[in-house]
Amino acid sequence: MILCDERMVDGMTRKLSISLPDDVAKVLDDVDNASAYIAEAIVMRRERDTVAAMLKRHGHVVTAEGVAAWRERLAEMDRRKAARRAEVEK
């Protein structure tokens, strides 16, 4: 669970006090700009949600298995491409 309270800093940003699980918060210990890191994560999540909503709106049912199959297939294609290029560079 994430808890937060917020204050307006100016028209462009809001200052939030958030509570994170220990293991999640620990990630932020090693980043230079925690706010930027969190903001980027939120933007990325929002975009994924936007795509998921669009697919649903268009009548497409996406399965976790189907997405996982593409993940594996693209990773394999990436490996083949990298190997091909390495061969060319020899």
């Binding site: 990325m44 975009e47 936007t50 669009m54 049912v61 189907g66 997405v67 693209l74």
Partner: protein, 130 residues
């Protein structure tokens, strides 16, 4: 990063919600999962639009406007136009545009009909949808 380029067959099948379209929708979901993007060449979009029903055309319009970070409509650049024209006797314009963008972004081309492109691209750069 643009990871996959769709040709007209992929776009039209998606919009028509044909039984096969799950393949392309799950590909789109996977690309979005890694915060990469799917490229939609303008000529492929136009060809798919021409081949689509009024209902599917509404889907297409929504498709290229809903998630601009993940679904990127790619204009045909001026300098690429002669290439498309010179190849139009051998390959449909939407596929030529898809191959050009594939080369530009180092992305794969996904299609329900890849074989016409096999003469012009390495097979490992083409994704046969099914």
């Amino acid at each position: 990063m643009i990871r996959v380029i769709l040709d007209a067959s992929a776009i039209a099948t998606y919009a028509a919600r044909e039984p096969d379209s799950m393949s392309v929708s799950e590909l789109i979901a996977q690309v979005a999962e890694t915060n990469d993007a799917v490229g939609v060449p303008a000529l492929a979009f136009i060809a798919a639009f021409q081949a689509s029903s009024p209902e599917a055309r509404e889907v297409l319009e929504d498709f290229v406007s809903s998630a601009p970070q993940s679904i990127k409509l790619l204009a045909l650049q001026g300098e690429d136009t002669p290439t498309v024209a010179s190849m139009c006797d051998d390959l449909a314009a939407d596929k030529v545009h898809a191959l050009i963008e594939s080369s530009r972004y180092d992305a794969y081309v996904a299609s329900y009909d890849v074989w016409p492109m096999a003469r012009f691209a390495h097979e490992d750069d083409l994704i046969q949808l099914k």
